[in-house]
Symmetry: C4
Subunit: 227 residues, 4 copies
């Protein structure tokens, strides 16, 4: 199983993806292309389901199976962020509440250090009015990528989240701990009073450790989905 | 396994049904009849447990096994709503709270778009006073169907919910995301402040997408219960 | 597997018991005796682990394996309540909060109808001052049984709950839905405002239905623990 | 499988550890040494992954595989607390909120009796300013051990918890019930009003019972991870 197919199944196994969600990676040999599963439930993805797309969101092979319409979400971020090598997009029940209210998501612990720099919220209504919520065009993708800015995660109002990273492992790690962080923060809010989350500098330092040690978690996660 | 038996097991597998709950479908060749499992825990339903009933809630075959008493809930909705082809009824722990308080259920994200038109609550006391809560007669069924109106979901006070749809797949999808939506909204309420849920028009547009793509989720859900 | 061993495993499988908890039954042929597993994690109980005890909490067979110290909890209730044929005692995380605060447990839906008559809380400090919390003597058992009164469930402060019933199936059903009810009520409280729980008469009527149909759930629960 | 490897897997199986977390034990024959897995996801630990370290956090065998950097957390506590024979450190999502707010963790029921003496919170900023949060040096370990004092559990702000005990079984028990206790207290706080937790004396008495009966739980927990 390729790492990208494994990533897809890992995010299901870890409770981040349900019957939907997709993870992509920039092409390792051509920065103007990216790889992404065909339109399929993420638990079912295998290496043979991976499609090659251009940064305009077009299939490299016109005879390939049907891609996800939200390939435009991925393409736009790869266009705008040269540092991004992998992207995960899902609809975790614990994360969505933070897309609906004004409480900003904080970095509640070291594993979620990548959130300390801030977590913007993209409201598709601001630019496009009433829609079907889907990031189904280059324009919608560009607007989302703009809101993401230089951050690691962006929330999509009434929709879900996007996590990006310098490797597939890092994007998966960030998707997983965005979900855990949401659960932690929800509970901290319920306890009441100020929350002593990671500050910017703690976040930067802890994120460096996480990126250096992500292989230890990845080894386990991959083993669980490759019996 | 028939799609109706699969639907029953899917709703258990997805955590919507427990030891109770039932899903039915209008007869594909006779709109004056519907199909529904005999009185049995939904995890155990097979194709051979499916009964045929008239829209009056009578068994087509008088020698058939014992039906659920709540066949009257299904029959009444099929009588009133010609557009409804499938119905799911369950008692999810996350949904029941919304049947007990005045907080209306909102459509917190695109998968729950079918809730944006509003989610009425049926209180059996309003018409029938103190009862055993069960929808055990045509009269109780009619009252419930009236409260449902033209909506996709109705909550039953201190009891559970009913989700309806134009196909078995759609009714199952709506039952699943009614449950997820309840969890999301509970958490959004806990965070405090206004909730930027889907508005009516967003709901209409997103629901159309969901109905068009429900097959992708159904494929996975069915695979999980047919090993 | 005897029904009592099945009951023990069912309550683990349904998330009500963890590594502790015990369920007992009055002896079917001698109302002055009861049956209860030896001191053992409930997931491991088999028919050969069942001990016979007198209503004084003494082993019928002095050479039998070590019983639970909390046999005194069971014995005292059988002494006081001739109608009780089975008892379950556990420490579910969702239930304990209601033993710690002044919010009374309500019957939030039909499956929890047996709670509508009221759920007393036993605080061992009231009679015994500072203790190890364990119901480890006939006196402590009597005090608990007195607080239980004629109800179906009693909560033990900072400890857990006891559910009783006219059959093993009923006691198991009540233990399971005490736990689910706790989760439902916690969420309803979080939503805010008054809670339209079952009233006394609704509780009585719905409980009668539950007792008449418990076999349907039991069939499934037993199947799950007897592969 | 050694008890220490079993302990590691038990804490995963019980939902206390995720892809990280580690448990150690003082060397049974040399109180100046301790045993701890090499840097590895805790679900994967076997007896052959256990390293021997000095109380200064140095490997006994310079050719041994790479240890966890947080060996310094363990070493410092063994240095300071002669009574401690085992230590567990993890990042449970339910526990972290209590490290972020001013609500002290209480002993909500008998299984968590070891918390009744108080649960200090270690904020690494107090002594070291902005860091990567990791207990990666003897100095950080000493500061943590000082905050732990004579207690059974210390919380680490925006990081996790440490539980200690007189045996491996006890440390595992305390790690598990620290996590459960956090969930119970979160729900009790949500219900509102004062919380009738265990007082000091109740905690002392109940803890003695727990330590005497931990074998019953351990038997089950070990069985689950040794199929």
């Amino acid at each position: 199983m390729s790492d990208l197919a494994a990533a897809s199944r890992i995010l299901v196994d870890q409770g981040v993806f349900d019957a939907a969600g997709h993870v992509s990676a920039r092409h390792p040999h051509d920065a103007r292309k990216f790889l992404m599963p065909r339109s399929l439930a993420p638990a079912l993805v295998t290496a043979s389901d991976i499609l090659e797309l251009t940064l305009e969101g077009e299939l490299s092979d016109a005879n390939a199976p049907r891609p996800f319409i939200e390939r435009h979400l991925h393409a736009a971020i790869y266009r705008k962020r040269a540092d991004v090598m992998a992207i995960a997009h899902g609809h975790s029940a614990a994360v969505i509440p933070f897309s609906l209210v004004r409480t900003p998501m904080l970095a509640t612990y070291h594993n979620a250090a990548f959130l300390a720099a801030g977590v913007p919220v993209f409201d598709i209504r601001d630019r496009f009015g009433d829609t079907d919520i889907v990031i189904s065009s280059p324009e919608r993708g560009d607007a989302l990528a703009e809101t993401l800015g230089d951050k690691a995660v962006v929330l999509l109002r009434a929709h879900g989240f996007v996590a990006v990273g310098p490797t597939i492992e890092a994007a998966v790690f960030r998707a997983i701990f965005t979900e855990v962080n949401a659960r932690v923060q929800l509970q901290a809010v319920a306890l009441g009073g100020p929350i002593a989350a990671l500050d910017d500098e703690e976040g930067r330092q802890a994120d460096a450790i996480n990126l250096a040690t992500v292989g230890r978690s990845w080894e386990l996660w991959k083993k669980r989905v490759m019996p």
